[in-house]
Structure formats: C-alpha cells, structure tokens
C-alpha cells in the first residue's frame, strides 16, 4: 500500500520533469508556420480530398525535411467540413481564431467557397481555393482569396482552339446542372461564336447523379442529325461523362465527342471502357506527365513529383495532386519572400507578388488584378486512345 503510494508520487514527479523538458525542447526550436486545410473528407468529394491530402502531406514533409522555411517547419491542420455550409464556415472561424495559422486551403465545393471567402475577407486571412468552378465565386474581386486552377475561361478558349484545329464548325453542348459546366458552356459559346463557330447549347441537361442519359440523348439525336453537328461537347464532370459516352455509342451516334478538362482522370476511362475511345479535350499537363516537350519548363517538376508520388503511394499524379503540389509550393515560395516578420498580411502580399513560379500545372503569375495564376499556355490537347491519355499536337495551335 505505502510502497505503491511512494511509487505513484515518484512516477508523477518524473512525468512532470519530462514534460518540463519536452516543453523547453519545443520552445527551443522555431515556431512552425501553420496552414489550415478545410476539406470535404466525407461526402461526394471524399476521393478527391484524399488525393489532395496525400499530396499536400508529402510536399510539406519534403519541405520540412529540407529544413522548412529558414528554420520554421510548415504544419498542416486538417478539418472535415462534411460537405456542409455551416460546418465549413465554423471551421473557417476556428482557423482564424488560431493566430499562428497564416492561410486556409479549401474548401473544394463551390457553394462552401463563397462563405469561406467572405469570412476570409472579413477576418483578413488568406484563403487559397483549389478549383473554384463557380463563376460567381471565382469572379468575386477579393483581396484575400487566391484561386489555383485553370479558370473556365482558358479551358473554354483551349477547347475552341481544339475545334478550330479539328475544323469543327458546329458543336452541340450537352451541359450538366453544375456551376462548372454551366459557366464552361457559356464561355465556350461566347468564344466559339467570336471565332465564327455555331455553338448550340441543348435545353436538355443532366444531373451529376443521373444514372442513365438515354432519354435526354434521344431528344438530342434529331438535333444532331438535322443540324449535322460536327462534334458533341459532353460538358460535365465526374461519372456522367462516361455514362454519356456509353449511351451515345449504345444508341449508335458516331459523332466525335469533346470533353472538359475534368475528363483527365484515370477512373473516367475505367468507367467508360471502349466507349471513351477518341474523346478529345484540353487538359492540364499533369494528365500526361511523360509526353511533355523536352524544353517544357515544368517537365522536370512534374516528372520529379510523379516519381515521388509513385514511390510513396504507388499511384501516379493527376490534376488534383498537381493542384495540391502547386498550393504548397506557392505557400513555400511566398513564405521565403516574406520580408521581416511573417504575418498574415505580409504573407498575403508576398503571395500576391508571386511571379513566374514554375509548378506542376504551369507558370503562376499573381497580381492585384489577377488571382487566377495560370494561362492558356499551360494546357495541352489530349485524346483518349487505347485506354490511355495521349497528347496530340496541331501545328499553329499550341
């Protein structure tokens, strides 16, 4: 009995000492720069978010292994917002409360981005948003919000170039009821008609959850035949793309299919099977890491990143992994360029002054008027052949 008590006292004493040592040890090295990540770990985007998490974690560990930003390690803090508006906003507040957090990455869902960006604007914290596809959100001229994605404007311009190269004069657009698809369709129509094409946006639409597009296609088939459209633009993202292709081939429509840059994922081909053969779209460079030009400035970065991803997780990179990589390296770059004490304000200014930073997706240039970064030159034409993404080139359009 007594011995036990003595033991306990000793234990507690030792533990206290150790804790003291530990704290002092922590205090010795420099405080980490914290980055909040406000992602949809559950809900429809879970898979996407998994990729983002893997890539970001890997990059951060690499940077820390290299000694961090002049001694300060980077630290990521993940929060799940469960695809829910309220929870996303609350997470944002939670991050802003912690004074050491310099920036918040995400969320991924368009409808949540509007709120978090508003909060970021109010609380004066940088909010880096991956793939803001909602035109209303992306276009909000906000000081504290930065976008990492090919804006739907350049995607549409690239696709118009593809049509011109292929000499498609008349294109039928079959849009999904998601913000990305809607703005893509609008911009495609505008730029296409500037270039003298005839773009028909079908009244028929489809939901991301639709499992069978045959009825809509049946209503579109007469249009395709009467108007003799040269190409069919499946303006959608995710599973509906392959479904559309499959149903079209099943119905025996032979029109060539154009896709969005959201077609550039392995699972799309896996779902569509041979129906996907011959689909063309303008995609990002990480989709075809091995087929870039020798003199492409971003080629080494992509190959290196691809190698490390394969070593660590056994999967190659895709566009999203690329976005994650770009996010972290942008932050790293900005932190290095911060003058004096690193605060949220100085970090934001440094990030806004990012200039010709080479990254997976291309060369980033931020400026007070432009928070989008990428340009049309950072995209390539891609065709699906033999169950693989194959880069195609056209003289004059690059």
């Amino acid at each position: 009995m007594k011995e036990n008590k003595g033991m306990v006292c000793w234990m507690i004493f030792l533990i206290l000492i150790f804790m003291g040592l530990a704290t002092s040890a922590v205090a010795a090295e420099k405080m980490p720069y914290k980055i909040g990540a406000n992602f949809e770990f559950t809900g429809p985007w879970a898979e996407v978010t998994k990729t983002l998490k893997m890539a970001t974690v890997m990059e951060v560990e690499r940077i820390n292994a290299m000694g961090g930003v002049d001694g300060h390690p980077l630290e990521l803090i993940f929060e799940d917002n469960g695809f829910d508006l309220g929870r996303a906003a609350v997470n944002m507040t939670k991050f802003t409360r912690d004074k050491e957090i310099l920036a918040v990455v995400g969320p991924f869902e368009d409808n949540l981005q509007a709120t978090t960006r508003a909060i970021a604007e109010r609380e004066k914290i940088t909010n880096i948003i991956i793939c803001p596809s909602n035109p209303m959100v992306r276009a909000l001229k906000q000081r504290w919000a930065f976008n990492i994605a090919q804006s739907d404007i350049i995607v549409s311009q690239k696709l118009v170039d593809l049509c011109l190269a292929r000499n498609y004069k008349k294109v039928l657009v079959f849009p999904a009821v998601i913000p990305l698809a809607q703005s893509l369709a609008d911009y495609f129509k505008r730029f296409g008609e500037e270039k003298g094409m005839k773009v028909i946006i079908a009244k028929e639409t489809h939901k991301p959850t639709d499992i069978d597009m045959t009825p809509q296609l049946i209503k579109l088939k007469p249009t395709i035949e009467q108007e003799k459209v040269d190409a069919f633009y499946a303006c959608t993202a995710g599973p509906p793309g392959p479904i559309v292709c499959k149903n079209m081939r099943t119905m025996g429509i032979k029109t060539p299919i154009l896709g969005t840059h959201a077609f550039g994922f392995g699972f799309i081909i896996a779902l569509g099977g041979e129906a996907m053969e011959g689909v063309e779209f303008g995609g990002a460079k990480p989709v075809v890491p091995d087929q870039l030009d020798e003199n492409d400035p971003v080629r080494p970065i992509i190959l290196d990143f691809d190698k490390r991803m394969r070593e660590r997780y056994g999967v190659g990179i895709d566009q999203l992994a690329g976005y994650a990589h770009d996010t972290i390296s942008l932050i790293y770059d900005a932190l290095k360029r911060c003058q004096g004490k690193v605060t949220r304000a100085t970090f934001r200014d440094a990030l806004e002054n990012t200039n010709s930073l080479k990254n997976c997706h291309g060369i980033y240039n931020y400026s007070p008027t432009d928070h989008d970064g990428l340009s049309k030159k950072d995209m390539v034409f891609i065709r699906i052949e033999g169950g693989k993404f194959k880069r195609i080139k056209f003289p004059g359009y690059e």
């Binding site: 985007w45 804006s151 009821v177 505008r190 946006i201 009825p215 995710g238 432009d370």
Partner: protein, 326 residues
C-alpha cells in the same frame, strides 16, 4: 493577363441557359419522338426492373413486420461495390465474387436487424425511421471509407456489343436484368405462397399476436426477412452495376425510388412491387419527352404525392393500408 468577366457581372441565372437556349436545342416535334418511343420504352423498362427489385426488398420486410427499412438502398449499393472489390481487388471469378458479395450483404442485413431493429422493436415509427436512416448514413459512409467514393463499373455478364432488335438497340445486360427480375419474382412467389416460412412471415405481419399464439417467433421472422431483402438488394446491385455505375451514395435515391414503386404498385404485394417498378421506370423515362429533363427526379416524387393522396392503396390494392400504422 487582364480578364473580362461579363458572365460574372451578370445578375444570377439570367442569361444562363435558362434563357440563352438556341433554336435547335429542343425537339418539340413529336414526329421523331414517336420514332424513338421504343428506345425510350426499353430504357424505361430496364430502370423499371431495377426499381422493381429494390421495391421487392422493401415488401419482403414489410410482409414480415410492418417496418420500412430506409437502408434498403444501401444493400443495393453494397452488393455492387463489394462485388467490384472482390472482382478487381482479389481477382476472384465473377460468379464466385457475386455469390460472396450476396452472402456478405445478407450478413450485413442480419447484423442490421440484430443491432438496430431488434432493440427498437417496441419503439415508435419515428424512432425506427431515424434509426434506419442513421444505419444508411453509416453504411454508405463506411463503404466510402473502405472502397473509396469513385463510381464502380462491373463488366457486363455477356458482351459489350448492343443487340439490334428491329429499330431499337438494347444492351444485353438489360435482358439479363429483366430475366433475373422475373426469376426472382417467381422464387419469391413460391417462397411466400407455397412454403410454410412465407405464410409464417405473412402471419406475423398481419396478426402479430395470433402468430405468437401459434408459436411463430416474430423476431425470427423479421430476422429472416431482413436477410432475404438484403439478398435481393445485393442481387439488384450486382445486376445494375454493369449498366449504371454504382458509387457509395447512389443507394439513397435508388432506395427512395424503390419505395415509391412499392407504394405505387400496392404496398405489401410482390406483384404490386413489380408492377409499380415498371410503371415508375417507364413513366419516368417517357416524361422526359414532355418536360425538361431536369425535372426527371421530381416526377417520381410527384407521383408519390399523387398516389398517396388519391389512392394510398396503390394500383393493386394493399393488405396493410387498413392497419392503424399507415
């Protein structure tokens, strides 16, 4: 690079393609609608068969105990997803994978009954609804965790090449679906009308006390019913995954549609479930010809409201509607 973003300075919605639809986009001329009627019908019938299968799952449980299992759709999802996992992950032969998947899902059904429904057997309707909804949340999110949220596509049973029957082209898989549906219907009919077990299940549902007095264990019957319905669900899932991709969250909507089908045909009747399923599928796919396809999901629920208001018994009439619970 300076950007002009006129689309974003526009007021919301206005000028999105509610407004700016071009001339050729819509085909109101019914000439060529009638020519494509068979095509619409065939796709409607395929989906209808799926709804019918899901509805059968609901009905089976209801016949044994007047419970609605809102997790029914998840059984369908799990059937497809687990088969995919076994097939692609463990490289099992197709038939074996399907069999194991069905077994696993049946086990899950048993577990669901034991862990959720049995403890709440005396609880009110509301509690049961919420508990099964919670179960469906758990199942779907867990499958997302284990198998990933990417949609899965199984290879079709026989060939990818669409058959040309007269004017219309049919995927061979839909023939499989139809055949399997009717096979299952016959089996269930025999089970519920020819065997003692089926009669016992029905007895427990219509008159629980009497069944108890006859020495039929009600809980056992509910237990078995959950297993059977889970099996049916998994079967449906395996059938549809080659045609329509199954992803972790496709269960809920399918479950609701299946329930609507069951109510439409006549609540608590196998034949009603089948009929309702086909009617719902056909009406849904035909409705697209007359209204913008965006409203397609609304159609099913509109049908639900109408049928509940004007004829809650459903088309074939229902043995359970009179009971106080409905």
């Amino acid at each position: 690079m300076p950007k002009n973003l006129p689309a974003c300075t526009k007021p919301f919605g206005e000028g999105r393609f509610g407004g700016q639809v071009s001339e050729g986009g819509q085909t109101e001329d019914f000439m060529n609608f009638w020519t494509y009627l068979p095509q619409l019908l065939s796709s409607g019938i395929t989906i209808g068969a799926i709804y019918a299968l899901v509805a059968l799952g609901f009905v089976t449980i209801t016949r044994a105990s007047q419970i609605i299992n809102f997790a029914q759709g998840e059984f369908v999802m799990l059937g497809g997803v687990i088969t995919f996992f076994l097939l692609k992950g463990l490289n099992l032969p197709y038939f074996l994978a399907a069999l194991i998947a069905i077994m696993v899902v049946i086990m899950i059904g048993f577990l669901l009954q034991v862990s959720v429904v049995y403890p709440l057997r005396k609880a009110s309707v509301l509690i049961l609804i919420m508990a099964t909804l919670g179960a469906s949340i758990f199942l779907s999110s867990t499958s997302a965790l284990v198998f990933g949220t990417l949609p899965k596509a199984l290879p079709p049973f026989s060939g990818e090449q669409p058959l040309q029957i007269g004017g219309l082209t049919v995927v061979p898989q839909s023939v499989w679906v139809l055949g399997a549906t009717f096979l299952l219907l016959i089996v269930l009919y025999l089970l519920s009308h020819r065997t003692l077990l089926g009669k016992a299940m029905e007895a427990t549902s219509t008159d629980p006390l009497g069944a108890d007095l006859l020495g039929i264990s009600r809980n056992l019957m509910v237990f078995l019913a959950f297993g059977v319905s889970a099996g049916i669900g998994a079967f449906a899932g395996i059938l549809i995954t080659p045609i329509f991709f199954t992803s972790y969250n496709s269960g809920t909507l399918l479950g609701l549609k299946g329930f609507i089908a069951a109510v439409l045909g006549g609540w608590g009747k196998n034949s009603g479930a089948i009929l309702g399923g086909f009617v719902l599928g056909i009406v849904e796919s035909l409705s697209v010809a007359f209204i913008p396809s965006g409203y397609k999901d609304g159609v099913a629920f509109a049908i639900l409201l109408l049928i509940l208001y004007f004829r809650p018994k459903g088309i074939l009439g229902s043995p359970f509607i009179d009971s106080r619970r409905w």
